[in-house]
């Protein structure tokens, strides 16, 4: 079995996205304030990671189109629910 380079690349991308959180946290540090921008970008990055896991690790890339659409729809759905819950909460605080 040839060593699969593609999976390695995928893992490196996922790991660097994880490490990006350290950088986000660093820039936000010192200011214990809630920031919509940070929250939104954190959620978006997490969803990008989820989609990569779907596509590459879970092999949706090679799955029937229906499953591709379904998982993509789920990623969008999660994003919409999370962001709207956050912003509704902020709005009616």
């Amino acid at each position: 079995m040839k060593f699969n380079k593609r999976l390695l690349v995928v893992w490196v991308i996922l790991a660097s996205l994880t490490l990006a959180y350290l950088w986000i946290d660093h820039t936000a540090n010192g200011s214990l304030r809630s920031r919509a921008l940070i929250t939104s970008s954190v959620i978006v990055i997490a969803l990008v990671k989820v989609r990569i896991i779907f596509r590459e690790f879970m092999e949706v890339r090679q799955a029937p189109v229906l499953l591709c659409r379904l998982t993509d729809a789920w990623v969008v759905l999660i994003g919409a629910v999370l962001l709207s819950c956050y912003f509704i909460g902020v709005a009616i605080r």
């Binding site: 079995m1 999976l7 896991i53 999370l82």
Partner: protein, 192 residues
């Protein structure tokens, strides 16, 4: 090997049982609801959540995320090896997956012990209620994951078994545990 050739060779088929995908999507909806409640109450009382969140060590979360991503990578390799008929490497990767999962559980329990030692328990405040609830229910999914890995190893070991569909089903469950953690990590440790 090119992606296109691989696809045409095997045809486009659902990895694992479609039934497991139904479980993944349903369980993801349930978790989305948990996350929604969390973000909503977080946005309603930001100071409390921010101050409680400051007690978490982001580095532990990052390490755990990397460890779980490693385990996911291992199980993805395991599936590809099993598909190619290389059951030895596949078995090795399955054990590697379990090893990373054990590391994850160890780190998780260390973090729980540290937090409760500092006096942050399940019922301390809203943030820690969500923290212990979300990490706890994920922990339960991970424990179920060990049963799933057991099935995977059982399949790979017996020459009479080796049902590729079942191997992929188990891997799909494992990746679900992984991506749920990716979301939990982002929401608990980094969101402001």
């Amino acid at each position: 090997m090119s992606d296109l050739a691989e696809t045409t060779k095997r045809g486009r088929s659902v990895p694992g049982q479609p039934d497991m995908w139904a479980f993944v999507l349903f369980e993801t909806l349930v978790f989305t609801a948990y996350f929604g409640f969390y973000l909503f109450s977080r946005a309603r009382s930001p100071e409390l959540f921010l101050h409680a969140q400051a007690q978490l060590d982001l580095r532990i979360g990052v390490v755990n995320t990397l460890v779980l991503l490693l385990s996911s990578w291992s199980v993805a390799r395991c599936v590809q090896s099993a598909r190619a008929g290389a059951y030895g490497p596949a078995l090795r990767d399955a054990f590697l997956t379990a090893l990373f999962a054990v590391v994850f559980l160890g780190v998780k329990m260390f973090e729980w012990a540290r937090l409760s030692h500092e006096g942050n328990g399940f019922d301390s405040n809203d943030f820690f209620t969500y923290y212990f609830f979300l990490t706890g229910i994920h922990f339960v999914h991970l424990l179920i994951g060990f049963v799933v890995l057991g099935v995977l190893v059982y399949q790979l070991r017996g020459p009479k078994m080796r049902d590729q569909k079942l191997v992929e089903t188990c891997a799909t469950y494992w990746h679900t545990v992984d991506f749920l953690w990716v979301l939990i990590f982002a929401l608990l440790y980094v969101v402001r």
